[in-house]
């Protein structure tokens, strides 16, 4: 019980009714998704056991052959999913449905590439150079997010619309203009895309013989800071107050003197800055330049990661590790004659079950609460009180 209490404290930092639901719902969803995935495979005449053996064997989540390599790759991609996941979670806690992480990720990536190769910076020592890059990346991504926030606060334009538009603007601006124009590498070198970043801009490796770099350490710190921001600061207090009221047009925080308009913009700034970190990770740790064709999608995966992680920083971290692992194991499932998109299907299924969480919550309540304690009755009550304010 003691351990549980500590775990709960880490997770939420405060007493929460039925807090364990937040853990049980995603875990249940993951298991059900894996079972449904197995049935899919089985129904096409292939072996689910084999598929999962290959998938998890190469995921870096469980020990096996070449574990070190897989583990490193898993953490490498996880750190990007966690960045975009946290970005979504921060906005979601404030009642903002931001799907702008994709664009902010790109903005972060191009900013990292530029400050990585641009002349006056490229001769700085590593620590200083990386600091400059990360500060610029977060400012650029933050501004990209804040634009959507500002448009909502001042003009009342819904953030879903503006963030989608900003995603497209970022994509075209970067791929059709910057990368092929002002930021194009010297043609004689035969490089397409932007120039490569200098050695001092490459993230230091922390596991010899792998590509694993400090991005995972950075994101652990950022995840902690996100939790701290949300639960320990006055700003986080206001974000959460907003999150419970904004979508229902309730005014309590505003009436109490919270400058809601400013907070919307600021929250979107923080969200954008964190998403942009992911973009820096991929440039400074994996690609080392902005390529002519960028395979994105991290921003959208971040939504899934955040949902699975129940918008809680620690949850997002764990969900990011899971998704990173599934992606890392993706190529290996082909050995079981299953397309490598299979892990994405699993991811989709998990999200679908999370989306049904009201239902799952209800069933779990019925199962556990009734049994454990006869005097407390089932899900319908909680629905009646908290149904309207689910998140």
């Amino acid at each position: 019980m003691m351990a549980m209490d500590i775990f709960r404290r880490i997770f939420f930092g405060h007493k929460e009714e039925y807090w364990w639901m937040k853990i049980l719902v995603p875990i249940t969803s993951i298991f059900v998704a894996l079972i449904v995935g197995a049935i899919f495979i089985w129904s096409t005449g292939r072996s689910p056991v084999l598929a999962y053996k290959y998938l998890f064997g190469a995921s870096g989540l469980v020990p096996g052959p070449y574990f070190k390599q897989h583990f490193a790759e898993m953490l490498l991609s996880s750190s990007m999913f966690i960045a975009t996941g946290l970005a979504f979670a921060i906005a979601a806690k404030g009642g903002l449905f931001s799907i702008g992480a994709e664009g902010q990720f790109l903005v972060g990536a191009i900013t990292a590439a530029y400050f990585g190769y641009a002349k006056p910076f490229a001769s700085m020592p590593t620590v200083l150079h990386l600091t400059v890059i990360f500060v610029m990346v977060m400012i650029a991504g933050g501004i990209w997010g804040a634009i959507a926030g500002w448009l909502k606060a001042k003009m009342g334009i819904h953030e879903v619309i503006t963030t989608i538009m900003l995603n497209w603007i970022a994509l075209y601006l970067i791929e059709d203009w910057l990368v092929t124009g002002p930021m194009k590498a010297n043609v004689e070198t035969g490089v397409s895309g932007t120039p490569y970043v200098s050695e001092t801009a490459k993230l230091p490796i922390i596991l010899k013989g792998t590509r694993l770099n400090i991005s995972i350490l950075i994101i652990i710190v950022v995840a902690y800071l996100t939790w701290f921001l949300l639960y320990r600061t006055t700003f986080g207090f206001e974000i959460r107050a907003m999150g419970y009221t904004l979508i229902y047009n309730m005014d309590a925080p505003r009436a109490a003197g919270v400058s809601v308009d400013a907070r919307i913009t600021q929250t979107m700034f923080v969200s954008g800055a964190v998403a942009a970190l992911g973009g820096a990770f991929i440039i400074l740790g994996v690609l080392f330049q902005f390529p002519p064709v960028f395979e994105g999608g991290y921003g959208f995966d971040g939504i899934a990661v955040s949902l699975i992680g129940q918008n809680e920083p620690l949850g997002v971290f764990l969900a990011g590790i899971l998704i990173g692992g599934l992606r890392t194991g993706a190529t290996a499932v082909q050995l079981a004659h299953i397309p490598k998109t299979f892990p994405s299907i699993i991811e989709g299924l998990i999200v679908a079950f999370i989306a049904l969480q009201e239902l799952i919550r209800y069933l779990l309540m019925k199962l556990f609460v009734r049994k454990r304690n006869n005097t407390v009755s089932g899900g319908s009550d909680e629905k009646a009180v908290s149904g309207g304010v689910a998140k």
Partner: protein
């Protein structure tokens, strides 16, 4: 014949025993009232009857048959209907659409609007519930919206109708109309369950009255055999006299000055048409008036929710150029909002969080932007004790508190805030007499401390009892100014309806 029988109904919430072995039997065709303090368990009991909650134990019989309801759907099938305090209507839809929603008459597969309108005309005729079936709900006053709710449940054949504090949002005239309807329903053989904190109303409309206290049934009395005083005593467990003591306080300097203030409502209609007044330190100025005569726009302008079209607001000698809630609160304004659920509280927040909202950025609750949980908890625990918030648990969500206790949380917060002007907008709406007494006590305490208070109230007894000066608002203007010693309910009533005006007092 018994319409409804409850046997040993118990409801245990995680931290609260809301209903404790309640036995009731209600005859067909009677108007049965339930009274009790805030948090006594009235709403919980009604929600059980309507299938919103499942009782922890106990049995329910409807027209002699044992039932086991799992949702309101089952209740509707058993001919039980409920008029909620917050209406569940869709503003953009017409009255007709709202009423038939979910059970539309059809011609083939298409919605038969004409027949729907005809049906509604028939029921509204039958029960004397006049509505225009083609009007949009958004354009209707609250009283009529409530009628639409009633029509909706009648159309579904309800025989047992539950009204949870239906009069809390109504003007006295609208209440009279509602009572006419209730009597007509009774005559038609419908059974009515009625909840109100206004004992006068309860005495007027009920056949029998059940009193709940802290989840337990104290007794059921016939209307003829009781009186308001006895009911109040049964509810609270002690003698309550809702007499407001007259306290004279030396009037201090002007704290708030309003000059020629005009403002529009959210639809852009000019509702406040140039009002001017002052509020002095140690003085309670009451604004009396029928709801919808500009009070809301006045409140919104003062707190910074709407930008006035003209006029000045001078708080503590300083003209407020940009009125925002943040600015006015920093300048010393505290605010008890009229709508505690939407404006007062963040419902999923715990008591401890709600009770510091607005002060959370100040020392000692936070330092350098970082919250100090220990101080917050100590403060919350102290306030919960001092303001008698039940249950005494700072970790309970505000949404799980009864209405009265929600109001106490707001009071506990606002009183603790540094202020010398208090804007109290309908501070006793939906409160039981015990809690009302409590609010009055605190308002008078504030006045003694030399705080300037602007009280906006629809209750004349409250206005007459508390105010040092009364301003009457009618159609966005101040049509009269008086002092309680020189006036009475009749005169105020006439002014509120625009029939009589009087001169402003010379300050």
């Amino acid at each position: 014949m018994k319409a409804l029988e409850l046997k040993g109904i118990t409801k245990q919430f995680p931290r609260v025993l809301a209903n404790d072995h309640i036995n009731l039997s209600i005859e067909k065709g009677e108007i049965f009232s339930i009274v009790g303090e805030n948090g006594a368990g009235k709403s919980t009991l009604m929600k059980i009857v309507y299938g919103l909650y499942t009782p922890t134990s106990g049995e329910i019989y409807v027209f002699g048959k044992k039932v086991n309801m799992k949702s309101p759907h089952d209740a509707i099938k058993l001919k039980i209907g409920m008029v909620h305090q917050e209406f569940m209507l869709i503003p953009r839809f017409t009255v007709t659409e709202n009423i038939v929603l979910g059970d539309e008459p059809r011609k083939g597969i298409v919605f038969d609007f004409k027949r729907a309108v005809k049906e509604i005309r028939e029921i509204s005729e039958k029960f004397g519930l006049k509505v225009d079936p083609l009007e949009k709900v958004a354009n209707l006053p609250v009283g009529i919206q409530q009628r639409v709710e009633i029509l909706k449940i009648l159309r579904r054949g309800a025989e047992i109708l539950i009204f949870d504090e239906p009069t809390a949002v109504l003007t006295p005239e609208e209440t009279e109309d509602l009572f006419k309807t209730l009597r007509a329903l009774k005559k038609d053989g419908k059974t009515i369950l009625f909840i109100s904190h206004k004992l006068k109303e309860v005495m007027e409309i009920s056949d029998r009255i059940a009193v709940l206290r802290r989840g337990k049934l104290q007794g059921v009395v016939k209307k003829e055999e009781t009186n308001e005083r006895e009911l109040a005593r049964m509810m609270v467990g002690r003698e309550v006299v809702l007499e407001i003591p007259r306290v004279k306080v030396e009037r201090g300097p002007v704290v708030l000055s309003v000059r020629d203030l005009a403002a529009k409502d959210h639809r852009g209609i000019l509702k406040l048409k140039g009002v001017s007044f002052d509020v002095h330190a140690g003085e309670i100025v009451a604004i009396a008036g029928v709801e919808g005569n500009g009070q809301m726009e006045l409140v919104n302008s003062l707190i910074g929710f709407t930008r006035p079209v003209k006029g000045k607001i001078i708080l503590n000698g300083e003209e407020m150029k940009l009125v925002t809630p943040y600015n006015v609160r920093r300048k010393g304004m505290a605010y008890i909002p009229e709508d505690r659920k939407r404006r007062g509280l963040v419902l999923p927040f715990k008591i401890r969080e709600n009770i510091i909202m607005g002060q959370h950025t100040l020392y000692p609750f936070s330092k350098g932007g970082i919250l100090n949980d220990k101080v917050i908890n100590q403060f919350a625990t102290k306030q919960v004790e001092e303001f008698d918030i039940r249950p005494r648990d700072i970790y309970i969500s505000a949404g799980n508190l009864s209405g009265g206790n929600q109001q106490k949380v707001i009071l506990a917060r606002e009183m603790a805030m540094k202020h010398n002007f208090l804007l109290a907008s309908q501070p006793t709406r939906g409160l039981d007499i015990g809690a009302m007494e409590f609010v009055y006590k605190h308002l008078i305490e504030e006045k003694k401390k030399g705080i300037a208070i602007l009280l906006i109230s629809l209750e004349l007894s409250e206005v007459l009892g508390l105010a040092d000066r009364i301003l009457v608002m009618y159609e966005g203007e101040i049509v009269g100014e008086t002092v309680p010693e020189k006036t009475n309910e009749e005169e105020l009533g006439m002014m509120m309806l625009g029939i009589k005006r009087n001169e402003r007092l010379v300050q």
